[in-house]
Symmetry: C2
Subunit: 358 residues, 2 copies
């Protein structure tokens, strides 16, 4: 039996979107392929509230995260980590011989703008990376407050990992001065995994032009030039199947569901899950910074998580255990992409029934 996915990616994908993945292929150097990429880019500009460039990558979001820090760090990067995926960005820097410092918070906490400012004041850094929504802890950093501070430092390239929040959360890229915002297909977009996307500001383009060893596949400048100079082409052969599905889904999000409605639905789903978690368990994350898309729940009842997920499996649902060091202490329910309030309530009722809560 298929299990409906309430894990923080891959998410449950609508049947109409899945069907697009099975369409016959076209050549990737023709006008049809250019048109396809252009349509996708234009819709992303609306969703991200940006007039800057949009880049697609046939890879997971990790690839573009690596590409961002590598393409745009000239001096030194400041990596702000609040969990496993923040740590990953630091590993990417180190493995690419990029000078970087990591600043950490305890898992479950967010960064304040004061903490960010203290680091930037040193004048040592020319790029920062920050996780918008930390999938391991269910914490959402206060990106708007943080953006205010970063705005004071015009030399900083501002990179945001919004892999598990963008397209489910309103992030006004140009207004916030974000230079590179990254997300991937298998989270709030509601597609199968295999493709990722980022914004790329004029400021970031100018910076990348000064960086010598940007590599090739994840060289953001090369992706940009194929769009700009070669009429919306891609440097190698892209996943055309994902592009079909992405085009279909973005049209749905922009023209049928509506962007603001989508963000609103994510807020409602987060609230339902938080209230449930608060009633029967405890929330792991600082309540001021709860994620819109994934709720991390402290297992204060000491339930047997494997038993719960197995029983849920028999009923056609799947949730997620804790991540990394939180594996046995927490579990996670994702409420993102095209998940409906009805199906979320259905899941929670089934958990109550299995655990005999109420």
């Amino acid at each position: 039996m298929h299990k409906k996915l309430f894990i923080p990616g891959p998410v449950e994908v609508r049947q109409e979107v899945l069907s697009q993945m099975a369409l016959p292929l076209i050549g990737h150097r023709g006008k049809d392929a250019s048109q396809l990429q252009e349509n996708i880019i234009n819709n992303f500009k609306k969703i991200f509230y940006t007039n800057e460039q949009i880049l697609l990558s046939t890879s997971s979001g990790s690839g573009l995260m690596e590409g961002a820090i590598r393409s745009c760090t000239l001096k030194k990067a400041a990596v702000f980590s609040i969990g496993a995926f923040g740590d990953r960005w630091y590993e990417m820097a180190i493995s690419n011989n990029i000078v970087a410092d990591k600043f950490e918070k305890q898992w479950g906490e967010a960064f304040t703008k004061e903490e960010i400012e203290r680091v930037l004041e040193t004048g040592e850094y020319d790029l920062i990376t920050i996780t918008h929504n930390e999938t391991s802890t269910g914490v959402m950093n206060p990106i708007e407050e943080i953006a205010e501070v970063i705005g004071k430092y015009p030399d900083i390239i501002f990179c945001v990992d919004a892999v598990s929040s963008a397209v489910g959360s309103k992030i006004e890229v140009d207004k916030l001065g974000i230079d590179i915002l990254i997300t991937s297909s298998q989270k709030c977009i509601g597609l199968p995994p295999g493709m990722s996307v980022c914004t790329f500001s004029t400021k970031a383009i100018k910076r990348a032009e000064k960086v010598t060893y940007r590599g090739k596949y994840f060289d953001l400048l090369s992706l940009y030039k194929y769009i700009k100079d070669k009429n919306y082409q891609y440097p190698s052969t892209p996943s055309i199947s994902h592009m079909y599905a992405l085009d279909y889904q973005l049209n749905y999000i922009v023209n049928e569901e509506g962007i603001e409605n989508r963000f609103g639905r994510h807020k409602v789903m987060a609230k339902i899950t938080e209230e449930w978690a608060d009633k029967y368990f405890e929330l792991f994350a600082d309540k001021k910074y709860l994620s819109n898309t994934v709720t991390t729940i402290k297992n204060v009842r000491n339930i047997d998580f494997s038993y719960l997920n197995n029983e849920l499996g028999k009923r056609g649902f799947q949730i997620s255990n804790g991540y990394g060091i939180l594996k046995d202490k927490t579990f996670r329910i994702a409420h993102m992409a095209d998940c409906t309030i009805e199906s979320l309530n259905d899941l929670l009722e089934n958990i109550n029934d299995i655990l005999k809560l109420n």
Copy 2:
């Protein structure tokens, strides 16, 4: 109207394979995902005649080419180029600050083992890259002869770009001493683009362990460790849809069509196309080194290629123009993956009819 693709990738994909791309998703950290990757790897071992490791990558083949030269060059790489894709490997080295020399042949020619040996004799190099099948020219390097020479130099990591030949051509990886053989989904495998695969020898693993800055997404050692130490897992979220289709297709190739039959069919298709090209046009490549999978044809009749491909389009076919510097002088017919002899003959008859040949 859909056009049957006779271009050198993306290829025409069978409907049964396309349908696999539309299956509902599973979590990428579960046992089912491990089992899926393990099955795929075991079938690739048969197709590549190897007992060494197999790595999958959610990217085009270019990604793994970059990963190979970056993960395994300690001293200096020798890049043997016979066309556009050989040149690309050199660009990858340079953009990653890897010391490399490029050795070139005129487009249309292959390397001899003597030429390779003269370079290796210098003792300057610890890795070589060579294109098995150059998609731009339709030349297939004599990989078995070249392998004999390389076998004399035990410090050389032997990397082969077989993107447009492997799975359509017999390449006995272990017997030839190939350390890293790379191919991607949208060529002879017969899948949509978006996934690539390589072999990874014990010798290459040992070399990679000595290289410091291998990057992250295309660090072959990291891909290897997730398979070896984490029970056939993948470092980030892979394209599960491609893995479904790949598993299905490799089972078909190994258990239904038969590996040797597949290689045999590719030989027959190449012969048909070459005889046709020889009769009505001229072959671009040196006749001793003609490709099994793509035929590059000199436009000695000065036909209007755009007209031909447009007319073919109306009849449901698509072939390819020349690549790069050969754009206007040649055109290309690919005969790979699940293309049948019948449909190839159908294509050639339609070309004859449009151009009033015979």
